[in-house]
């Protein structure tokens, strides 16, 4: 279970963006969180991905309460969650080739040896050709870069996926392709998914359950 209980989070003291939010994702379940721009849903997604420490409330991951966020989270918890962000340009190091970008989580966890095999298999899964892997982010389109970012999120085989507006910048066909990759991975591994967005039609089509922001929080 990925449980967010009474989460209050924000960036400035005294003015939280998220107030008293409750959200639970069961293993293997796909939950879509719907909300308008600027409501705080991305902040809640960052809390769930252990990337932003909440001011109050508890996050429980597979039965263990989370005590540290970002680099303070234990590696076992950190690597259990894969994250895909809205803007691939801002979430990819411009100096890395796509191959290195996808392999970075392996390198960071001391599993560099597996990189070659895993990256070529994963890049096929997400639909990136061998010739694209040698390029750097400025040499590929948004859609191609987001495919690489999705591969990067999957490379450690996480039990949980957090997708924050993963498809907002993409065209219809790339959106459908990336959602298909996520669903294929979840079928294979039984991973749970929290996806955040404002496109009701997309989330209802994609997820087992969609929740509205108003029903999650009291802010």
């Amino acid at each position: 279970m990925l449980e967010l209980d009474a989460i209050t989070a924000g960036y400035e003291r005294g003015s939280p963006v998220v107030r008293d939010a409750h959200l639970t994702v069961a293993p293997g379940e796909a939950v879509g969180l719907l909300g308008p721009s600027g409501c705080g849903k991305s902040t809640l997604a960052r809390v769930a991905a252990l990337l932003h420490r909440p001011d109050a409330g508890t996050v429980t991951l597979d039965g263990r309460p989370v005590t540290g966020w970002r680099h303070r989270a234990p590696r076992e918890q950190r690597t259990a969650i894969g994250v895909v962000f809205q803007q691939p340009r801002l979430s990819a190091d411009p100096r890395l080739s796509l191959r290195d970008l996808i392999a970075e989580p392996l390198r960071a966890t001391g599993r560099r040896g597996e990189a070659a095999a895993t990256v070529s298999e994963l890049s096929r899964t997400v639909g990136l050709g061998e010739d694209l892997l040698g390029r750097r982010p400025h040499e590929v389109s948004d859609g191609q870069l987001q495919r690489a970012c999705l591969a990067r999120a999957l490379v450690l085989r996480p039990r949980w996926l957090v997708c924050d507006e993963m498809t907002a910048m993409l065209d219809a066909s790339t959106t459908a392709a990336l959602v298909a990759v996520v669903e294929e991975y979840r079928r294979e591994r039984g991973a749970g998914l929290l996806t955040v967005g404002h496109d009701r039609v997309l989330l209802e089509r994609w997820c087992d359950r969609t929740v509205r922001w108003e029903d999650v929080t009291t802010a």
Binding site: P36, S37, G38, Q86, R89, G127, L128, G129, H138, E139, V140, S141, D142, G143, Q144, A168, M169, L170, D171, A172, S173, T174, T175, A176, A177, V179, A180, H198, D199, R200, V201, L202, E204, R205, W206
Partner: protein, 395 residues
């Protein structure tokens, strides 16, 4: 309007208006701002920026130009002469090692007053390069062919002076992709509106504040927000501020490059409805987008672009309703929508620097045959060797 020379040209054939105020410096600033939204992100290629060179041209005849006719505005039913007439437009980028990238090939369409044409396609298909070509904002390594007639001006051959003094902002208003990046961060929206008013319409100093309020109201930008800086605006308000700037010169043609990217659905609908209102007031709008829902909401006609070519040009109601799109790519694109089949088109778009000699979509197309090794001609609104009737018989 404050000055007569900037009134909307009633007859597109009339001589190019010669504005009294023609500040090259201000236009260069606006250009530099506009250039930040130029093709680098859209095309999957690196284009070294060389904004002060004007794109030169390919030798005539290097690209076949098959002229096609399209009707005028379907809404008001007045065909007349089109405001913008694009024929055989091609853009190639010369890259290192003598390679070439064919970003746009043989594009042709007409656009009438009071009409909205939506140009749709996947990212990296050349949509934004086409827009940059119309504004003369291509980098120096670009070569263009064909023609884009706006009244008596060919936008592709016109000199920088003509473009800066009579076209950008005056005949073509640009609604940019990311308004927050388009606006100068260090000045308020009001100050930017006033500058644009002074430069484009010659509004005198004592009138400029009132004129700025009027300009803001035209784009439904709240006048009490004029003293705000761009970072203090929400995405929707920044979009309206950028639209207000685009409308200042009373340009008959509006060019909107992905105006709804990253906005949520309500905001997309509002932005699109506002743009539609300007169309209904008589502007022509070329909207470049990958958002099919937005295109459906606003467009009179739809042009589908794939790998630099327009593969289908259709009436919007027929395209989104029955009988639906004719080109297999366009049908695949619609079927990828979550409210439809939600199935992606297999494969990826080809690299613009390495296009096959025949139909660029053949590698991803379920209907491809040997005939697809040759480039299909654009006829009856579609460029495909397999017209739909034949396909249905085979399916």
């Amino acid at each position: 309007m404050t000055t007569p020379q900037n009134a909307r040209p009633a007859a597109p054939q009339g001589p190019a208006p010669a504005p009294a105020v023609a500040p090259d410096t201000a236009d260069a600033g606006a250009r530099a701002r506009a250039a930040t939204t130029a093709p680098a992100t859209e095309a999957a290629v690196t284009i070294p920026p060389a904004p002060h060179e004007n794109a030169s041209r390919v030798a005539p005849g290097s690209v076949p130009s098959n002229v096609r006719k399209t009707s005028g505005s379907p809404r008001d039913g007045t065909p007349g002469t089109p405001l913008l007439s694009v024929r055989g437009l091609s853009v190639r980028f010369r890259m290192r090692g003598g390679r070439h990238i064919a970003a746009v090939a043989d594009a042709g369409f007409d656009l009438a007053q009071g009409e909205c044409l939506a140009l749709v396609g996947e990212s990296g298909c050349g949509k934004s390069v086409l827009a940059s070509a119309l504004l003369g904002l291509l980098p120096g390594n670009a070569r263009t062919a064909g023609s884009a007639l706006f009244g008596d001006v060919d936008l592709l051959t016109a000199g920088e002076r003509t473009l800066a003094r009579t076209v950008r902002g005056r005949r073509i208003g640009l609604v940019p992709q990311s308004p927050a990046a388009h606006l100068t961060p260090v000045r308020t929206v009001g100050a930017q509106l006033e500058e644009t008013l002074r430069e484009l319409t010659g509004t005198q100093k004592h009138d400029v504040r009132r004129a700025a309020r009027a300009a803001a109201e035209r784009a439904a930008f709240p006048v009490d927000h004029l003293d705000r800086y761009p970072h203090e605006l929400s995405g929707g308000l920044a979009q309206r501020a950028a639209t207000a700037l685009a409308l200042v010169g009373d340009a008959p043609l509006l060019l909107a490059d992905e105006p709804t990217t990253g906005l949520d659905r309500d905001l997309v609908d509002r932005t699109v409805d506002e743009l539609r209102r300007h169309v209904d007031e008589g502007h022509a709008l070329l909207m470049i987008t990958h958002d099919l829902a937005a295109a459906e909401r606003i467009a009179d006609r739809v042009a589908v672009m794939y790998a630099g070519r327009i593969v289908e040009l259709a009436d919007a109601a027929r395209f989104f309703g029955t009988p639906g799109p004719q080109h297999p790519y366009a049908r695949g694109l619609l079927n990828a929508l979550p409210e439809r089949a939600f199935t992606p088109i297999p494969g990826m778009p080809p690299e613009l620097g390495d296009l096959p000699p025949g139909c660029a979509f053949a590698a991803r197309c379920t209907h491809a045959t040997d005939a697809c090794a040759a480039q299909p001609h654009f006829a009856d609104g579609v460029a495909c060797h397999h017209p739909p009737a034949e396909e249905r018989a085979r399916a």
